[in-house]
Symmetry: C2
Subunit: 132 residues, 2 copies
């Protein structure tokens, strides 16, 4: 298996509209907080501002994480994978919760033989943060 040369230092965005997955991980605890997507502009803004900026596929717009909830992500380290088609952010999660459902991590449910089981405690009530 050949190891292809690295084209450059940026993620492999095919064009301005293409999206790549971005994982956010708590820089202190190692907890995986969430996965979202970035386009090139979101990636560049994340690097230049030091705050996580994603691209919301549902809204079709840049998503400055925490702009509604206040739960922003201060970026400590940005890592790229071997194929340069995935991004890992190591972040300090403000407010202690990454998930819009109020949990520290979006991965708050475990798949078990008996079905999904919630394995985290809620940090906030979504209806109080986002309104009804």
């Amino acid at each position: 298996m050949d190891t292809p040369p690295l084209p450059n230092d940026a993620p492999a965005f095919a064009d301005a509209d293409s999206l790549l997955p971005a994982i956010a991980q708590d820089a202190q605890t190692g907890r995986v907080l969430m996965i979202a997507y970035m386009n090139r502009e979101a990636y560049d803004l994340t690097l230049s501002t030091g705050w996580a900026v994603y691209y919301s596929r549902s809204r079709g717009a840049l998503w400055r994480k925490g702009e509604t909830s206040g739960n922003r992500q201060r970026v400590r380290r940005v890592l790229l994978d071997c194929d340069q088609d995935a991004i890992l952010l190591q972040v300090d999660q403000e407010g202690g919760a990454a998930c819009h459902q109020g949990y520290p991590s979006c991965f708050f449910r475990e798949a078990t033989p008996a079905g999904l089981r919630v394995v985290e405690q809620r940090v906030f009530d979504p209806s109080e943060v986002y309104g009804k």
Copy 2:
């Protein structure tokens, strides 16, 4: 913002061909090892066998992680995110390296103002494991 009811206990594969991202994390250290994709069959095989099985987009086939390198992933926990469109595997990584380039993690390079910087040590030489 409403919290939609959960449709069921499985990831939201739209059909047998649809893919969802799957993050593998070292169950002991918390290190994020890699991101790959699963179709429904790969997900079911992962749950039923206890070993990570992905779907290789480049090969268009199931990818039993480690079948060539021996670096299999014993799955300790499977978590789903809030939208049920992403999967997190907490695994014991055999051989100490998840990446086909010989690094513990595929995320072995940090994006810095001076360019990409390798931040991990190689565990194996890819040419010896995969051949030329």
